[in-house]
Symmetry: C2
Subunit: 142 residues, 2 copies
DNA sequence: ATCGCAAGTGCAACTGATTTGCAAATACCT
DNA sequence: AGGTATTTGCAAATCAGTTGCACTTGCGAT
Protein backbone atom coordinates (compact mmCIF):
# COMPACT_ATOMS: atom_id res chain seq x y z
CA UNK A 1 0.00 0.00 0.00
CA UNK A 2 2.94 2.29 0.50
CA UNK A 3 5.53 3.58 -1.93
CA UNK A 4 8.63 1.43 -2.20
CA UNK A 5 12.11 2.04 -3.50
CA UNK A 6 13.60 -0.70 -5.57
CA UNK A 7 13.63 -3.75 -3.33
CA UNK A 8 12.69 -6.87 -5.21
CA UNK A 9 9.47 -8.73 -4.66
CA UNK A 10 9.77 -12.46 -3.97
CA UNK A 11 8.87 -14.94 -6.65
CA UNK A 12 6.23 -16.73 -4.53
CA UNK A 13 4.62 -13.41 -3.81
CA UNK A 14 4.50 -12.53 -7.49
CA UNK A 15 3.13 -15.99 -8.19
CA UNK A 16 0.40 -15.41 -5.69
CA UNK A 17 -0.62 -12.12 -7.15
CA UNK A 18 -0.84 -13.71 -10.58
CA UNK A 19 -2.75 -16.78 -9.49
CA UNK A 20 -5.18 -14.66 -7.50
CA UNK A 21 -5.82 -12.65 -10.60
CA UNK A 22 -6.44 -15.87 -12.52
CA UNK A 23 -3.28 -15.59 -14.58
CA UNK A 24 -0.59 -18.19 -15.15
CA UNK A 25 2.80 -17.48 -13.72
CA UNK A 26 5.11 -16.96 -16.68
CA UNK A 27 8.58 -15.41 -16.90
CA UNK A 28 7.32 -12.47 -18.92
CA UNK A 29 4.67 -11.63 -16.35
CA UNK A 30 7.04 -11.99 -13.45
CA UNK A 31 9.54 -9.74 -15.19
CA UNK A 32 6.88 -7.13 -15.86
CA UNK A 33 5.71 -7.09 -12.26
CA UNK A 34 9.27 -6.82 -10.97
CA UNK A 35 9.90 -3.98 -13.36
CA UNK A 36 6.86 -2.06 -12.18
CA UNK A 37 7.59 -2.87 -8.57
CA UNK A 38 11.07 -1.43 -8.82
CA UNK A 39 9.91 1.94 -10.09
CA UNK A 40 8.75 4.76 -7.81
CA UNK A 41 6.75 6.37 -10.63
CA UNK A 42 4.48 4.99 -13.34
CA UNK A 43 6.32 3.54 -16.32
CA UNK A 44 5.35 3.99 -19.93
CA UNK A 45 4.79 0.94 -22.10
CA UNK A 46 7.87 1.95 -24.03
CA UNK A 47 10.00 2.00 -20.89
CA UNK A 48 8.77 -1.42 -19.88
CA UNK A 49 9.39 -2.79 -23.36
CA UNK A 50 12.92 -1.40 -23.26
CA UNK A 51 13.50 -2.93 -19.86
CA UNK A 52 12.32 -6.39 -20.87
CA UNK A 53 13.49 -6.74 -24.47
CA UNK A 54 17.17 -7.20 -23.57
CA UNK A 55 16.11 -10.20 -21.49
CA UNK A 56 14.59 -11.70 -24.61
CA UNK A 57 10.94 -10.80 -24.15
CA UNK A 58 9.14 -9.69 -27.27
CA UNK A 59 7.47 -6.31 -27.29
CA UNK A 60 4.18 -7.80 -28.37
CA UNK A 61 4.33 -10.03 -25.32
CA UNK A 62 4.97 -7.03 -23.13
CA UNK A 63 2.04 -5.11 -24.57
CA UNK A 64 -0.21 -8.14 -24.18
CA UNK A 65 0.98 -8.61 -20.62
CA UNK A 66 0.23 -5.02 -19.73
CA UNK A 67 -3.25 -5.26 -21.21
CA UNK A 68 -3.97 -8.42 -19.28
CA UNK A 69 -2.71 -6.85 -16.07
CA UNK A 70 -4.93 -3.87 -16.68
CA UNK A 71 -7.98 -6.06 -17.25
CA UNK A 72 -7.22 -8.04 -14.11
CA UNK A 73 -6.68 -4.81 -12.19
CA UNK A 74 -3.20 -5.88 -11.15
CA UNK A 75 -1.98 -2.62 -12.61
CA UNK A 76 -3.65 0.69 -13.13
CA UNK A 77 -3.30 2.25 -16.54
CA UNK A 78 -2.86 5.98 -16.66
CA UNK A 79 -3.56 8.02 -19.71
CA UNK A 80 -1.13 10.85 -19.32
CA UNK A 81 -1.41 12.03 -22.89
CA UNK A 82 1.56 12.50 -25.16
CA UNK A 83 0.58 9.35 -26.99
CA UNK A 84 1.86 7.10 -24.29
CA UNK A 85 0.32 4.93 -21.68
CA UNK A 86 1.76 4.52 -18.26
CA UNK A 87 1.27 1.78 -15.75
CA UNK A 88 1.69 1.39 -12.03
CA UNK A 89 0.92 -1.52 -9.74
CA UNK A 90 -2.56 -0.91 -8.45
CA UNK A 91 -1.65 -1.72 -4.87
CA UNK A 92 0.10 1.61 -4.49
CA UNK A 93 -3.35 3.09 -4.07
CA UNK A 94 -5.11 5.81 -5.98
CA UNK A 95 -3.45 9.15 -6.18
CA UNK A 96 -3.20 12.04 -8.60
CA UNK A 97 -0.35 12.61 -10.99
CA UNK A 98 1.42 15.63 -12.32
CA UNK A 99 3.10 15.61 -15.67
CA UNK A 100 5.42 18.30 -16.93
CA UNK A 101 4.54 19.19 -20.50
CA UNK A 102 8.09 20.24 -21.15
CA UNK A 103 10.36 17.51 -19.85
CA UNK A 104 7.73 14.81 -19.41
CA UNK A 105 8.61 14.12 -15.81
CA UNK A 106 5.84 12.46 -13.86
CA UNK A 107 5.19 12.96 -10.19
CA UNK A 108 2.87 10.96 -7.99
CA UNK A 109 0.91 13.33 -5.83
CA UNK A 110 0.15 11.09 -2.90
CA UNK A 111 0.71 14.03 -0.62
CA UNK A 112 -1.96 16.19 -2.12
CA UNK A 113 -5.67 16.29 -1.58
CA UNK A 114 -8.25 17.48 -4.02
CA UNK A 115 -11.48 19.28 -3.63
CA UNK A 116 -13.68 19.21 -6.67
CA UNK A 117 -16.90 21.09 -6.34
CA UNK A 118 -19.60 22.30 -8.70
CA UNK A 119 -19.65 26.07 -8.75
CA UNK A 120 -23.09 26.69 -10.15
CA UNK A 121 -25.57 23.93 -9.50
CA UNK A 122 -26.57 23.31 -13.10
CA UNK A 123 -24.37 20.35 -12.34
CA UNK A 124 -22.64 18.67 -15.13
CA UNK A 125 -23.08 15.12 -13.93
CA UNK A 126 -19.90 13.22 -13.61
CA UNK A 127 -20.15 9.61 -12.67
CA UNK A 128 -17.15 8.46 -10.71
CA UNK A 129 -13.75 10.03 -11.02
CA UNK A 130 -10.83 7.69 -10.49
CA UNK A 131 -7.96 9.52 -12.06
CA UNK A 132 -6.78 13.05 -11.58
CA UNK A 133 -4.10 14.42 -13.82
CA UNK A 134 -2.46 17.81 -13.64
CA UNK A 135 -0.27 19.12 -16.39
CA UNK A 136 1.94 22.15 -16.49
CA UNK A 137 5.57 22.97 -16.02
CA UNK A 138 7.63 21.44 -13.27
CA UNK A 139 9.76 23.66 -11.10
CA UNK A 140 12.88 22.91 -13.09
CA UNK A 141 11.31 23.71 -16.46
CA UNK A 142 9.50 26.83 -15.37
CA UNK B 1 -15.12 34.09 -23.74
CA UNK B 2 -18.30 32.15 -23.20
CA UNK B 3 -19.39 28.78 -24.47
CA UNK B 4 -21.23 28.86 -27.76
CA UNK B 5 -23.50 26.44 -29.56
CA UNK B 6 -22.88 26.03 -33.22
CA UNK B 7 -23.42 29.46 -34.72
CA UNK B 8 -20.88 30.23 -37.38
CA UNK B 9 -18.17 32.79 -36.98
CA UNK B 10 -17.91 35.45 -39.69
CA UNK B 11 -15.13 35.28 -42.21
CA UNK B 12 -13.76 38.75 -41.37
CA UNK B 13 -13.63 37.78 -37.75
CA UNK B 14 -11.72 34.62 -38.52
CA UNK B 15 -9.45 36.63 -40.75
CA UNK B 16 -8.76 39.01 -37.89
CA UNK B 17 -7.91 36.25 -35.49
CA UNK B 18 -5.48 34.79 -37.96
CA UNK B 19 -3.80 38.06 -38.89
CA UNK B 20 -3.47 39.00 -35.24
CA UNK B 21 -1.72 35.70 -34.66
CA UNK B 22 0.58 36.45 -37.58
CA UNK B 23 -0.90 33.78 -39.81
CA UNK B 24 -2.13 34.09 -43.36
CA UNK B 25 -5.80 33.60 -43.94
CA UNK B 26 -6.16 30.38 -45.92
CA UNK B 27 -9.17 28.19 -46.60
CA UNK B 28 -7.74 25.34 -44.52
CA UNK B 29 -7.24 27.56 -41.50
CA UNK B 30 -10.66 29.13 -41.82
CA UNK B 31 -12.22 25.70 -42.06
CA UNK B 32 -10.34 24.49 -38.99
CA UNK B 33 -11.39 27.48 -36.92
CA UNK B 34 -14.99 27.11 -37.99
CA UNK B 35 -14.87 23.47 -37.11
CA UNK B 36 -13.53 24.15 -33.63
CA UNK B 37 -15.90 27.05 -33.16
CA UNK B 38 -18.89 24.89 -33.93
CA UNK B 39 -18.08 22.31 -31.29
CA UNK B 40 -19.07 22.71 -27.65
CA UNK B 41 -16.31 20.33 -26.54
CA UNK B 42 -12.69 19.84 -27.55
CA UNK B 43 -12.17 17.94 -30.80
CA UNK B 44 -9.54 15.32 -31.43
CA UNK B 45 -7.17 15.77 -34.34
CA UNK B 46 -8.83 12.75 -35.92
CA UNK B 47 -12.26 14.31 -35.70
CA UNK B 48 -11.00 17.51 -37.26
CA UNK B 49 -9.27 15.59 -40.02
CA UNK B 50 -12.47 13.68 -40.72
CA UNK B 51 -14.45 16.90 -40.80
CA UNK B 52 -12.13 18.63 -43.25
CA UNK B 53 -11.00 15.83 -45.56
CA UNK B 54 -14.34 15.57 -47.40
CA UNK B 55 -13.90 19.24 -48.30
CA UNK B 56 -10.61 18.35 -49.93
CA UNK B 57 -8.14 19.31 -47.20
CA UNK B 58 -5.27 16.94 -46.72
CA UNK B 59 -4.68 15.44 -43.30
CA UNK B 60 -1.10 16.63 -43.22
CA UNK B 61 -2.40 20.14 -43.77
CA UNK B 62 -4.85 19.73 -40.93
CA UNK B 63 -2.16 18.47 -38.56
CA UNK B 64 0.13 21.28 -39.57
CA UNK B 65 -2.64 23.80 -39.10
CA UNK B 66 -3.38 22.52 -35.61
CA UNK B 67 0.28 22.71 -34.64
CA UNK B 68 0.54 26.25 -35.91
CA UNK B 69 -2.59 27.23 -34.04
CA UNK B 70 -1.17 25.70 -30.89
CA UNK B 71 2.10 27.57 -31.26
CA UNK B 72 0.26 30.82 -31.87
CA UNK B 73 -1.97 30.10 -28.89
CA UNK B 74 -5.10 30.40 -31.03
CA UNK B 75 -6.06 26.97 -29.74
CA UNK B 76 -5.19 25.09 -26.61
CA UNK B 77 -4.00 21.54 -27.01
CA UNK B 78 -5.21 19.06 -24.44
CA UNK B 79 -3.55 15.76 -23.77
CA UNK B 80 -6.47 13.68 -22.70
CA UNK B 81 -4.65 10.41 -23.08
CA UNK B 82 -5.98 7.64 -25.27
CA UNK B 83 -3.26 8.42 -27.75
CA UNK B 84 -5.11 11.35 -29.13
CA UNK B 85 -4.75 15.05 -28.94
CA UNK B 86 -7.66 17.35 -28.54
CA UNK B 87 -8.00 21.00 -29.34
CA UNK B 88 -10.26 23.84 -28.33
CA UNK B 89 -10.20 27.51 -29.22
CA UNK B 90 -8.25 29.19 -26.47
CA UNK B 91 -10.71 32.03 -26.09
CA UNK B 92 -13.12 29.76 -24.26
CA UNK B 93 -10.86 30.22 -21.25
CA UNK B 94 -9.07 27.72 -19.08
CA UNK B 95 -11.13 25.04 -17.46
CA UNK B 96 -10.79 21.44 -16.40
CA UNK B 97 -12.01 18.49 -18.42
CA UNK B 98 -13.55 15.18 -17.62
CA UNK B 99 -13.15 12.22 -19.90
CA UNK B 100 -15.10 9.00 -19.59
CA UNK B 101 -12.78 6.06 -19.94
CA UNK B 102 -15.59 3.91 -21.25
CA UNK B 103 -17.37 5.91 -23.93
CA UNK B 104 -14.75 8.58 -24.42
CA UNK B 105 -17.14 11.45 -23.89
CA UNK B 106 -15.46 14.68 -22.89
CA UNK B 107 -17.01 17.28 -20.66
CA UNK B 108 -15.77 20.78 -20.07
CA UNK B 109 -15.93 21.52 -16.38
CA UNK B 110 -16.29 25.28 -16.47
CA UNK B 111 -18.72 25.01 -13.59
CA UNK B 112 -16.35 23.31 -11.22
CA UNK B 113 -13.68 24.68 -8.99
CA UNK B 114 -10.64 22.85 -7.76
CA UNK B 115 -8.74 22.93 -4.57
CA UNK B 116 -5.35 21.31 -4.70
CA UNK B 117 -3.47 21.34 -1.47
CA UNK B 118 -0.40 19.57 -0.12
CA UNK B 119 -1.36 17.26 2.69
CA UNK B 120 1.97 16.78 4.36
CA UNK B 121 4.40 19.61 3.85
CA UNK B 122 7.28 17.60 2.45
CA UNK B 123 5.99 19.35 -0.60
CA UNK B 124 6.51 17.81 -3.93
CA UNK B 125 7.24 20.95 -5.87
CA UNK B 126 5.01 21.52 -8.82
CA UNK B 127 5.76 24.47 -10.99
CA UNK B 128 2.65 25.84 -12.64
CA UNK B 129 -0.40 23.76 -13.37
CA UNK B 130 -2.36 24.80 -16.43
CA UNK B 131 -4.38 21.74 -17.21
CA UNK B 132 -6.58 19.63 -15.01
CA UNK B 133 -7.97 16.36 -16.27
CA UNK B 134 -10.31 14.00 -14.51
CA UNK B 135 -11.02 10.54 -15.80
CA UNK B 136 -13.56 8.02 -14.72
CA UNK B 137 -16.97 6.84 -15.78
CA UNK B 138 -19.66 9.22 -16.87
CA UNK B 139 -23.13 8.91 -15.42
CA UNK B 140 -24.39 6.96 -18.40
CA UNK B 141 -21.58 4.42 -18.39
CA UNK B 142 -21.52 3.87 -14.67
C1' DA C 1 -4.91 45.32 -60.63
C1' DT C 2 -1.07 42.42 -60.83
C1' DC C 3 3.57 40.62 -59.64
C1' DG C 4 6.87 38.14 -56.89
C1' DC C 5 7.96 35.26 -53.56
C1' DA C 6 7.63 33.58 -48.94
C1' DA C 7 4.25 30.91 -46.83
C1' DG C 8 1.00 27.24 -47.32
C1' DT C 9 -0.64 22.92 -49.54
C1' DG C 10 -1.24 18.07 -51.48
C1' DC C 11 0.75 13.93 -52.14
C1' DA C 12 3.17 9.97 -51.04
C1' DA C 13 6.29 7.89 -48.35
C1' DC C 14 7.93 7.49 -43.53
C1' DT C 15 7.96 7.03 -38.43
C1' DG C 16 6.99 5.12 -33.87
C1' DA C 17 3.70 3.09 -30.90
C1' DT C 18 0.74 -0.59 -30.61
C1' DT C 19 -1.91 -4.78 -32.47
C1' DT C 20 -2.77 -9.12 -34.69
C1' DG C 21 -2.43 -13.93 -36.96
C1' DC C 22 -0.36 -17.98 -36.42
C1' DA C 23 2.67 -21.80 -35.43
C1' DA C 24 5.73 -23.28 -31.82
C1' DA C 25 6.53 -23.45 -26.83
C1' DT C 26 5.00 -23.93 -22.06
C1' DA C 27 2.34 -23.74 -17.45
C1' DC C 28 -0.15 -26.52 -14.77
C1' DC C 29 -4.08 -29.82 -13.80
C1' DT C 30 -4.54 -34.91 -13.56
C1' DA D 1 5.01 -37.62 -17.06
C1' DG D 2 1.14 -36.25 -20.48
C1' DG D 3 -2.47 -33.46 -22.69
C1' DT D 4 -4.26 -29.21 -23.55
C1' DA D 5 -5.55 -24.60 -23.11
C1' DT D 6 -2.65 -20.52 -22.57
C1' DT D 7 1.31 -17.89 -23.81
C1' DT D 8 4.87 -16.53 -26.57
C1' DG D 9 7.86 -14.93 -30.56
C1' DC D 10 8.01 -13.44 -34.97
C1' DA D 11 6.63 -10.86 -38.84
C1' DA D 12 3.37 -8.32 -40.96
C1' DA D 13 -0.38 -4.99 -40.32
C1' DT D 14 -2.44 -0.83 -38.37
C1' DC D 15 -3.07 3.77 -36.78
C1' DA D 16 -1.98 8.50 -35.52
C1' DG D 17 0.95 11.71 -36.78
C1' DT D 18 5.14 13.66 -39.52
C1' DT D 19 8.11 14.93 -43.32
C1' DG D 20 10.31 16.04 -48.01
C1' DC D 21 9.35 18.12 -51.96
C1' DA D 22 7.38 20.20 -55.99
C1' DC D 23 3.40 22.90 -56.84
C1' DT D 24 0.11 26.64 -55.55
C1' DT D 25 -1.47 30.86 -53.33
C1' DG D 26 -2.09 34.93 -50.09
C1' DC D 27 -0.92 39.41 -49.84
C1' DG D 28 2.40 43.53 -49.42
C1' DA D 29 4.72 46.07 -52.81
C1' DT D 30 4.55 47.83 -57.36
Amino acid sequence: MTKRKSAAISLPEVRNRLREAGLRCTPARVAAINCLFASPTPLSSGEIVEALEPAGFDKSTVYRTLSEFTECKIVFRLDLGDSMRHYELSDVGTHAHFKCRQCGEIQCLDDFSFEISPRKHKAVRLGSVNEVLLRGLCEACE
